[in-house]
């Protein structure tokens, strides 16, 4: 492919529809092997120039007998003649965008295609220049996430759009979700559009970690941006062993645990619904601050049975609840009384414009601990944001700074059974209004509630091969059917399909390098014209700044 205004000629449009894309018959001089699924093409219609992506490649023939009695292909001359004439290749192209008439015109940008090119429209491979016109250049609002396959042009995400809605990062284990997430986080951090709170299950975002193959060591955010990232830990020892410099240790008091948290742990603690809901009765009896400590301080079967009679709960259910909650005592980060409220301190850091990584250390391997802490802290933060936003709407104070909460193993929080109850279900559905969005990282997207999936603005997915997972990721996406083939054929490393609000059309990228010294230098470098973001600003301040920037 060339850097000129047009790439190499591929063929002409011979069939198609707006719903299913157009079919391009390859020119005799172009072999099917030269075209790859996911490659970009431009189609010159009579009035418009279309930009699309190859979604499928097929072989066709003019004579159905050809496949029953193939001609002898030992003669290179006959092969040369038949290829591209009676036996030919076709590619299916989804024309996503209509390009501006004059490339490089800053005012006109590509717009979504609402029609298709006519018959015999000439199709070319997209040039570097076309791709750059579509996916933008790196600047303060656009973050370079990777390159299209076999091209040098950059694919850039619109950071404003990215943080406005929730984000999904999917892919099988070991396909590069973590690297992709690190890049996204660096982008959000550098862009300054939002703060991020990362529930770092495997302690790999804050401080460096080896990748899943154990071959490469990748630096964490704290190492790259020491002054802008705060790390909290649940497991001080583990952090110390890994040499991670932590800003604070998180301790959670029993009084902070609410019955809703217990309800969400029902599955991981293997508890019946009746047992879990007994916590509500306990809360009623002892009050929020004391129900858990008082309950766990009880001793003996009889005492529990007496209590069950008092609060009108099945004795065995209460016994089961007691058993399960006793297990939580093993978590050293839980204390009967905690002097300092962890959620408040995290919110403090976030409001200063810091990005917060909460390392789980050894508790990352314990799903119960992970779910308990993330749910508990997120609920607090949620409450605070709703409050702040309402105050701001009432004219008191500033809008809360946009926040992206990063959670892993998301299907455990957002499964159809519990999504309506957990705080994450709420955040995914409606927190956009309160400036909080989620970044969900998961390898089983099919386990996530479809209502939550439909709220994800931008999805980045590495290789998935389970039919249901692919279906879940692509559900509700225009052209989803065509993207299936692309998604199932991603390479297992450093490739991802990205689509949604943050970019104009779906694209397969070769993920940007993360891990070499050179890549760190590039990532840390501030894009030209990018202003450091200091906390949040009121609408008036923003207006003033924008006016100042204009003149």
């Amino acid at each position: 492919m060339t850097g000129g205004s047009q790439g190499r000629f591929l063929g002409v449009v011979v069939d198609g529809s707006l719903a299913h894309g157009v079919e391009v018959r390859l020119d005799a001089g172009t072999s099917v092997e030269e075209v790859k699924a996911g490659a970009f093409v431009t189609i010159q219609g009579s009035g418009h120039r279309f930009f699309g992506v190859v979604t499928d490649i097929a072989l066709g023939s003019t004579d159905p007998r050809l496949k029953h009695a193939p001609p002898g292909m030992d003669d290179p001359f006959i092969t040369q003649v038949l290829q591209g004439t009676v036996a030919y290749g076709t590619v299916s192209v989804l024309p996503n965008l209509v390009m501006p008439v004059a490339l490089g015109d800053a005012v006109e940008t590509p717009v979504a295609a609402k029609t298709i090119p006519p018959h015999f429209a000439r199709t070319h491979a997209a040039s570097e220049r076309d791709v750059a016109a579509v996916f933008g250049n790196e600047d303060e609002r656009h973050f370079w996430i990777g390159n299209p396959l076999d091209m040098e042009a950059k694919v850039c995400l619109d950071l404003d759009e990215l943080v406005k809605r929730s984000i999904g990062v999917f892919g099988k284990s070991g396909t590069g979700k973590t690297f992709l997430t690190r890049l996204l986080l660096v982008g959000i951090l550098q862009g300054g559009q939002a703060s991020s709170l990362i529930f770092d299950m495997h302690s790999e975002y804050g401080w460096g970690a080896h990748d899943s193959d154990g071959k490469r060591f990748a630096k964490g955010l704290k190492q790259l941006f020491p002054s802008r990232v705060s790390t909290f830990t649940l497991d001080e020892e583990s952090s110390r062993r890994r040499g991670s410099s932590t800003d604070d240790v998180v301790r959670i008091g029993y009084g902070d645990i609410e019955p809703e948290d217990v309800e969400m742990l029902r599955e991981t603690l293997n508890m019946s619904e009746v047992a879990a809901s007994a916590a509500f009765n306990l809360q009623q009896k002892f009050g929020q601050r004391h129900w858990m400590s008082q309950f766990l301080n009880m001793e003996g079967r009889d005492a529990i049975f007496d209590l069950a009679a008092q609060i009108q709960v099945q004795p065995h259910a209460l016994g089961a609840l007691y058993n399960r909650l006793t297990r939580l005592k093993r978590f050293e980060f839980l204390a009967e009384k905690s002097e300092r409220n962890a959620a408040d301190r995290i919110i403090e850091h976030l409001e200063r414009g810091q990005h917060v990584v909460l390392e789980f250390g050894r508790y990352g391997r314990n799903l119960t601990a992970y779910m308990l802490v993330t749910n508990l802290l997120s609920r607090r933060i949620h409450g605070r944001y709703v409050e702040r936003k309402e105050q701001a709407e009432g004219g008191q104070g500033r809008d809360p700074r946009p926040l992206v909460i990063v959670i892993e193993e998301a299907h455990k929080f957002l499964s159809p059974a519990i999504a309506p109850q957990t705080i994450f279900g709420t955040i995914a559905r409606e927190m956009r209004k309160y400036n909080v969005t989620l970044m969900v990282i998961d390898q089983r997207p099919s386990g996530i509630d479809s209502e939550v999936m439909s709220q994800l603005g931008t999805r980045l997915t590495c290789l998935l091969d389970n039919e249901r997972d692919i279906e879940a990721v692509l559900s509700g996406t225009p052209g989803g059917r065509q993207l299936r083939g692309v998604l199932a054929r991603l390479e297992s490393k450093q490739q991802a399909l990205i689509f949604g609000h943050a970019l104009p059309m779906p694209v397969v990228i070769h993920t940007r390098e993360y891990g070499s010294l050179e890549s760190y230098a590039q990532l840390v470098k501030r894009a030209p014209g990018r202003q450091p973001h200091q906390g949040t600003e009121t609408p008036e301040e923003r207006l003033e700044r924008e006016i100042a920037e204009l003149f």
């Binding site: 023939s61 050809l66 002898g72 040369q80 038949l82 004439t85």
Partner: protein, 199 residues
């Protein structure tokens, strides 16, 4: 009109029967017909044809040719001993009209009128053949002529044209692809012609 070949083309005979799609020419010399598939051109009417059938027959149909060489030691000796044969026999060939020429332009469709009887017929020089076969629309006329051995004729014609073209192999691929688009729905037939023209 300029001589397309740069050399005077060789005159081989004269039109003796004519129709819209083909003509018959009688050769001046016994066995003097141009080879099957080669290009011929009529004199003033500039109609191009492709030789599709060559025959040698007695001038008088009521006097069939008899075998005379029983005691001859070679085939040449038969003619040496019977010098009258050259006068009693004649060679004719049929040519399918492949196009015509108006001004400097070669047209690959039938002329408004067939060449008149007694038009001179010339065998095209390689240069003239190359010029006429620069475009390949004549293949359609040949394939649809309806004669029984059309595949043989097309094969021979493309071989002859390739010999005249500066890039014979490239020409054959181009011609093969033109054939393929004509015979898109009949791959076995296409294949059999391609085997005949394969270099």
């Amino acid at each position: 009109m300029a001589d397309a070949g740069g050399l005077m083309p060789r005159r081989v005979g004269e039109v003796v029967a004519t129709a819209s799609t083909s003509f018959v020419a009688q050769c001046y010399r016994l066995d003097g017909a141009p080879p099957q598939g080669s290009f011929v051109r009529t004199g003033s009417s500039w109609v191009y044809g492709v030789v599709c059938r060559v025959s040698t027959e007695p001038l008088d149909p009521s006097r069939p040719v008899l075998a005379r060489g029983e005691s001859a030691s070679s085939e040449e000796e038969v003619f040496r001993d019977n010098p009258q044969l050259a006068r009693l026999l004649t060679t004719r060939f049929d040519a399918l009209i492949a196009g015509h020429r108006t001004g400097d332009e070669c047209r690959h469709f039938l002329p408004p009128l067939p060449p008149p009887v007694h038009s001179f017929v010339y065998a095209c020089s390689p240069a003239e053949t190359a010029q006429f076969t620069n475009r390949l629309d004549f293949i359609h006329l040949l394939l649809n002529s309806g004669i029984p051995v059309v595949d043989e004729v097309v094969g021979a014609c493309l071989r002859a044209a390739a010999g005249a073209q500066p890039d014979g192999a490239g020409f054959l691929v181009r011609a093969g692809r033109a054939l393929a688009s004509e015979l898109a729905g009949d791959v076995p037939r296409l294949n059999s012609i391609l085997r005949r023209v394969a270099p």
